[in-house]
């Protein structure tokens, strides 16, 4: 991307880390074997994929045997929701999720509803937080799964997953968390969280697009989403995406090594951006939780101004107005709507997510440009 540009959209995607690119390179060339083949070229690919599996396991405190590679966070989410219900008798299945989930949870849930599965969608408070008690109230004898995201992609709000896991455990119901936005941004440990399933997305943590993983706690199983031969212990068919799995492994390994410095840098830059914007823009509203939030995410609204209009005037800044995956329609984001944000405030939402490509200088420059643009629009210029 051009040198003058400031990329403040790390929640949408990230560039592949040089370390991850380097790890993948040999497997794009001479090490092209199929991990299922028995000769050395195949075994080498197999070993590399298993090494990557260990790297993914380590960043979330899991065992390598609990990791299944997928084509991305969306597939991981689909796999859990569709794989846990018994479609032979859809009506005897119930799942609980919440209103601010990513479309990769809400749309599979909607599809299951069409097939007859019962789905409870619990609400959130003004910060976007779920109350674990609200989840407990929805539990029924036929409840198969509780699925609540770890961190929201639009607001960065963190959910009380540990408490939700306890609710699940009390009732013997498995808990899934979509951690696509959290892994690499904050320390994540499946044991501390107490979850049974956890979604990882490669391209949100400086790994490649097109790869992800699902943590499946040992002893639990799912009906495959992609049926076929016995790859991934029979849980996910298709010739392994050797290159991208290795890229994901290397990205996880790097993220695990530098998590404290990444968190610290993000916190400082996001904090500075937040400070400058609130100083410079009168009436600015924070969307999301003030403290229980990803350290890199800032979602603010300029009441009365359309977010898209603000960004249009500053092409050097790349940021979002809603979530990237469903950006092409102009309507109030379902996340803000569920938080009870009014139309007037919600349409002015801007999401900035800082990351490794940023410097403090960039963040300060971005703040100046944003403030200037907002003042200009307000003055009717």
């Amino acid at each position: 991307m051009a040198a003058k540009t400031i990329y403040l959209d790390h929640n949408a995607t990230t560039p592949v880390a040089p370390e991850a690119a380097e790890a993948m390179t040999p497997y794009m060339g001479e090490r092209f074997g199929n991990p299922s083949s028995g000769y050395p070229l195949g075994r080498e690919a197999h070993e590399a994929v298993e090494h990557a599996r260990t790297e993914v396991a380590l960043i979330i405190g899991a065992d390598p045997s609990e990791i299944v590679f997928t084509s991305g966070g969306t597939e991981s989410n689909n796999f859990v929701l569709k794989g846990i219900v018994d479609l032979k008798d859809p009506g005897a299945n119930h799942i609980i999720t919440c209103a601010v989930e990513h479309p990769a949870i809400l749309n599979p849930a909607l599809y299951l509803m069409e097939l007859g599965v019962k789905v409870s969608i619990v609400g959130v408070d003004h910060y976007g937080r779920v109350d674990p008690q609200d989840i407990e109230k929805e539990i029924r004898p036929e409840t198969r799964l509780i699925s609540i995201m770890l961190a929201n992609n639009e607001t960065g709000t963190l959910q009380p997953i540990e408490e939700i896991s306890r609710v699940g455990q009390d009732h013997g119901i498995p808990v899934h968390t979509d951690a696509a936005q959290a892994v690499g941004k904050i320390p994540v440990d499946v044991k501390a969280l107490g979850v049974d399933f956890l979604t990882v997305a490669g391209h949100k943590l400086y790994g490649p697009k097109g790869v992800g993983a699902l943590f499946i706690r040992r002893g639990l199983s799912l009906t495959p989403l992609i049926h076929g031969a016995g790859q991934e212990r029979g849980l996910r068919a298709g010739t392994e995406n050797v290159i991208l799995s290795i890229g994901l492994g290397a990205a996880c390994s790097l993220a695990a090594r530098r998590i404290s410095e990444d968190v610290e840098a993000a916190r400082k830059m996001r904090g500075r951006l937040e400070e400058l914007l609130f100083e410079g823009v009168e009436g600015l509203v924070l969307n999301g939780h003030p403290t229980e939030r990803l350290p890199n995410t800032l979602n603010v609204s300029v009441p009365g101004l359309e977010g898209a209009k603000v960004l249009e005037g500053i092409p050097e800044i790349m940021a979002s107005t809603g979530a990237a995956c469903h950006d092409r329609t102009v309507k109030l984001s379902h996340v803000l709507s569920a938080m009870g944000v009014s139309e007037e405030v919600g349409m002015g939402a801007l999401r900035f997510s800082v990351g490794r490509t940023n410097t403090m200088e960039q963040v300060e420059r971005a703040a100046r440009l944003i403030i200037q643009q907002i003042r200009g629009l307000r003055d009717g210029r």
């Binding site: 991307m1 690919a45 490649p208 960004l311």
Partner: protein, 390 residues
């Protein structure tokens, strides 16, 4: 080792040089998410659309008829599950052949649990499906027929046009798994007359983890992966941009050279097939001798174990397979060989060579030189062989 000869191109291929070059900038330089509204995102989106046009062009389709997937297996799952789920009112009967790839076979089996009936169509000694038999088996409730274009274990190419005509006349969706053909022979969806067709990046020299499904305009299908509105809502998930760029480039290259390559490699294949049959007694070719993939040579060698043969060949620098790579961990005796009537003891001696763009006549001659010795040594150790010789 005197030489290394890789003859397992059905399992994996090296990424073509031009393909790799095309992909690389999309890992770091052009990293924007194609769903975003700013310039770099819109540019990546445009690049994805260009790739869709290239893949469409390779098989004579329109760009909007192509959905990118994470593999051929996913494309097969999308077709074989997506059609019955989207057309539940039409019926609950699915017809597939007995020699389909696991991704089709197990997708169909998934429906058996949901009270669908699945008919597994038998094949003849060459592995051919009889179109007349398909016609007889189609009934009111039949919602999908799925027959592979060519089989990866025995190389036989099916009479897809005739089967497609039957399905069309009966008003039943017809899917073909063309993972083994696209990239190996020219394929045109309109000539074939299919409604859905699966592609994998592997035979094209694109990276693993890429694939696509063609489905004819107007065909309603239930997504396999729900979520965001990528791929026009037909396949959710942030796009594997470098992979798709690789697949597009590989399709563009194949459009230019697949016919020429396919004719050229046939000569190597035939030299290998007839050379093996000539040099090793009591060896049979599996699949049809002519109506087969141009780069595919498969045999059953009596009185030996295919696994042992592969192992011994590997020590000579020759890399081959006993069947399909995917099946090698899943199963012992190949159901494909059983389906074409090979006796189980002879099916044990299965060996499959699949040629690639890097192979030369010298490679074939090296195999023809080494293989008879390896077989001889294995047979010398085989109680079966000794018994019969005695």
């Amino acid at each position: 080792m005197e030489r290394e000869v890789y003859l397992d191109n059905a399992a994996a291929t090296p990424v073509r040089k031009e393909v790799l070059e095309a992909m690389l900038p999309y890992f770091d330089k052009y990293y924007a998410n194609p769903s975003t509204m700013y310039k770099p995102g819109l540019e990546v989106k445009k690049v994805l659309d260009e790739q869709r046009a290239k893949v469409a062009d390779l098989i004579g389709a329109s760009p909007e008829e192509i959905v990118f997937t994470s593999s051929g297996a996913e494309a097969n799952n999308l077709a074989v599950k997506g059609i019955p789920f989207a057309h539940r009112k039409k019926g609950n009967h699915i017809i597939i052949s007995a020699i389909e790839h696991h991704s089709v076979l197990n997708s169909a089996r998934f429906f058996e649990r949901l009270d669908y009936e699945v008919t597994f169509l038998q094949v003849d000694e060459f592995g051919f499906v009889n179109p007349r038999r398909v016609e007889e088996l189609i009934r009111q409730e039949t919602v999908l027929v799925s027959i592979m274009h060519a089989n990866n274990e025995i190389g036989t190419i099916q009479p897809i046009q005739e089967i497609a005509e039957v399905c069309k006349s009966k008003g039943v969706f017809f899917h073909t798994d063309a993972v083994a053909t696209v990239g190996n022979i020219p394929v045109d969806v309109n000539e074939l007359g299919v409604d859905l067709l699966s592609i994998s990046g592997i035979p094209l020299g694109a990276p693993k983890g890429t694939g696509a499904l063609y489905f004819r305009k107007g065909t309603r299908i239930m997504p396999l992966i729900h979520g965001g509105i990528q791929e026009s809502g037909r396949r959710a998930g942030t796009e594997n941009v470098p992979g798709i760029v690789g697949l597009g480039k590989a399709a563009e290259l194949a459009k230019q050279d697949v016919e020429e390559w396919s004719n050229k490699v046939k000569a190597l294949r035939d030299r290998l097939i007839y050379g093996v049959l000539e040099r090793i007694e009591r060896t049979r070719i599996t699949g049809h001798p002519e109506k087969r993939l141009p780069a595919h040579a498969s045999f059953c060698v009596e009185a030996i174990e295919g696994e042992a043969l592969i192992y011994m060949l590997s020590s000579q620098g020759i890399y081959a397979n006993t069947g399909s790579a995917c099946a090698s961990k899943a199963l012992k005796t190949s159901p494909v060989l059983v389906a074409i009537g090979v006796p189980p003891d002879i099916a044990q001696g299965s060996v499959v060579f699949t040629l690639g763009r890097s192979n030369s006549m010298e490679d074939v001659d090296y195999v023809l030189e080494k293989l008879p010795h390896v077989v001889e040594r294995l047979r010398a150790m085989s109680p079966l062989w000794k018994q019969e010789a005695a």
